[in-house]
């Protein structure tokens, strides 16, 4: 799958409380959650973000609580992919489980500006900054996780598995 979009840049240790504050956790609806995505550090993010946009961030993205509402809010806001220097582990699992593509890449953040257009080839782990022309690579997922992503998330993966067992 190849994704293309404009970037929004965030720093290190973006925690799940700023991705979606607890006061908005009284719903599981992606569209409702998306309205308040990032609101505590970037008040008009929800108004600005366009479908297909890409988030680029620093270290330990998604640290803090286990709320799956965080990747759901990001996905609900139209973001097609998150690229970070590193991800907190629960966020990493959750993103894969709900089918939000994420990539780890250390260098890209230093050499880009907000609004740059990126092209991301998920299967190859290739990232191209179309604005600057530079290319970057990211470690592809282990095969087992690729299966989950290809199935469309963990639940779809399990449904397939159980259907096979019954057949």
């Amino acid at each position: 799958m190849v994704l293309k979009g404009k970037t929004h840049i965030f720093g290190d240790n973006i925690d799940t409380d700023v991705i979606i504050p607890a006061r908005y956790l009284t719903t599981v609806d992606p569209n409702e959650l998306a309205k308040n995505c990032m609101v505590d550090i970037d008040a008009d993010f929800a108004g600005r973000v366009q479908k297909g946009d890409i988030m680029v961030a620093g270290l330990n993205f998604g640290c803090g609580s286990s709320r799956e509402h965080a990747p759901i809010a990001i996905k609900g806001s139209g973001v097609s992919c998150v690229i970070a220097r590193s991800f907190a582990r629960i966020f990493y699992r959750n993103a894969i489980n709900i089918g939000l593509p994420i990539l780890e890449c250390d260098e890209i953040l230093d050499e880009m500006n907000a609004g740059d257009e990126l092209e991301v080839d998920l299967a190859k782990g290739e990232i191209t900054n179309l604005t600057t022309g530079k290319k970057y690579s990211s470690e592809p997922f282990p095969e087992f996780m690729q299966e989950i992503i290809a199935a469309g998330g963990e639940i779809a993966y399990l449904r397939k598995k159980f259907a096979k067992q019954e057949a």
Binding site: L25, S66, E68, S86, N94, F162
Partner: protein, 420 residues
């Protein structure tokens, strides 16, 4: 090569003789946990799998603690989703308001976790049960759904940091100061993807409540889990609370660690994490004058009986400062009752403390003590992120119950010796 304590537990639950860091395994689960925020999403996803049954109705625990007793209509609807699910599938360990407590205090107290268990919870502080020598870790709602359906989950076997605790703590320095000090030292991502394995004579010198506090905040260093060796103190707790068979695992002598961190407990002072990261720590002497508007004593980190005893000891015969609201949350109904029979609640209320029923409440900015713009709070909770306890321009300082209680008296962040 040898295995760490965590690796041994994971190998056992995956039916393997040996596992290595980085290996992907599938482990059998002894308990799957969820709360009123994370479970509704897990339930929605669980129903999509379409199995029509849970893997084991005795091995699922549902604890409505975050926005409960419900703070508004939406949170009441969410709690009701969990309640109806518990009835539909006859879930043994559903804890209604009136029996519940904050999940990570309640689960060990009810004997639902024991040494050697593998536990997942759709709540990041599930790592608390490492205090009992279990492998327990936080996951999201979809993993919870998969766990409830299949009774197993995939894990990447973690590497570990060995934390060697030496010496004896002085004054009223507590487990909270130890973990804040460690997080300050290694950073909020210092243990990312790894286990924190606590060891050394200093670790075994800690009370079980202090071990819970320390394991609880492993996630604040980015860790997958935190774990303590099993000793007499652990077994005494387990035998008093659980009839489940336990299994004691020990790290091999030649286990390999990514890093070894040594802490001499005798050199530690009261430690406070300043806004807006748990790693932003200072010893109290270097803190300066910080006036507070609110003091919160409670949560899954420090709402246990020892914590309430310390708070009551400091507040006995004193008054909460006139510019301060002090709110105390016993973490479970049993702790609440014990605090009543020990006279602690009387002492606290006489001092001018507002005592609440068990709930997560203000810890996550839910209800029962939300901060206004510009307000400062010293809390015994575990996170001081932007907006965590209310307005995005409010500030949370993390500290021990002793420091929090002393601050309630003086109106500024203070060491307990200032009021005792």
């Amino acid at each position: 090569m040898g295995m760490t304590m965590t690796q041994k537990i994971l190998a056992h639950s995956a039916g393997k003789d040996c596992v290595k860091a980085g290996e992907l395994i599938t482990a059998k689960l002894d308990l799957v946990l969820g709360n009123d925020i994370t479970s509704p999403l897990a339930i929605q996803e669980f129903e999509k799998i379409g199995l029509g049954k849970v893997f084991d109705k005795d091995k699922i625990a549902l604890v409505p603690d975050h926005f409960c007793p419900n703070k508004d209509i939406k949170s009441a609807e969410q709690a009701n989703v969990v309640r109806q699910f518990a009835r539909k599938y006859d879930i043994t360990n559903y804890f209604e308001v009136g029996q519940m407590g904050i999940e990570h205090a309640l689960i060990p107290e009810k004997g639902l976790v024991t040494a050697g268990d593998v536990v997942i919870g759709a709540d990041s502080h599930t790592c608390t049960y490492g205090a009992l020598g279990a492998f327990s870790t936080g996951i999201g709602s979809t993993d919870m759904a998969a766990g409830m359906a299949t009774g197993e989950l995939w894990f990447k076997v973690p590497d570990a940091i060995k934390v060697v605790l030496k010496g004896k703590k002085k004054n009223m320095v507590s487990g909270k100061d130890v973990i804040l000090h460690l997080i300050g030292k290694i950073g909020v991502e210092g243990a990312r993807y790894m286990s924190l394995e606590f060891t050394g004579e200093g670790a075994l010198d800690l009370s079980i409540d202090e071990r819970f506090t320390i394991a609880n905040m492993a996630i604040e260093a980015g860790a997958k889990n935190g774990i303590f060796p099993v000793d007499d103190v652990t077994l005494e707790y387990i035998n008093a609370h659980s009839k489940k068979p336990y299994k004691v695992f020990e790290a091999d002598e030649d286990a390999s660690y990514a890093k070894v961190v040594e802490i001499d407990l005798s050199t530690l002072d009261y430690t406070v994490a300043c806004p807006h990261l748990p790693s932003n720590t200072k010893e109290i002497a270097n803190l300066g004058d910080i006036k507070v508007d609110q003091v919160v004593i409670g949560s899954c980190t420090n709402g246990r009986i020892e914590d309430l005893r310390v708070a009551a000891k400091i507040l006995k015969g004193k008054k909460v400062h006139k510019n301060v609201r002090c709110i105390v949350f016993p973490a479970t109904q049993k702790i609440y009752l014990d605090a009543i029979s020990e006279g602690l609640i009387q002492t606290l209320v006489e001092a001018g403390v507002a005592v609440s029923t068990p709930t997560c409440g203000p810890c996550l900015g839910g209800h029962m003590g939300i901060l206004a713009k510009g307000e400062k709070c010293v809390a015994t909770t575990n996170r001081n992120f932007i907006g965590r306890m209310g307005h995005i321009e409010s500030e949370v300082y993390l500290a021990s119950p002793a420091v929090a209680a002393a601050s309630a008296v003086t109106g500024k962040i203070s060491a307990p010796e200032e009021v005792l």
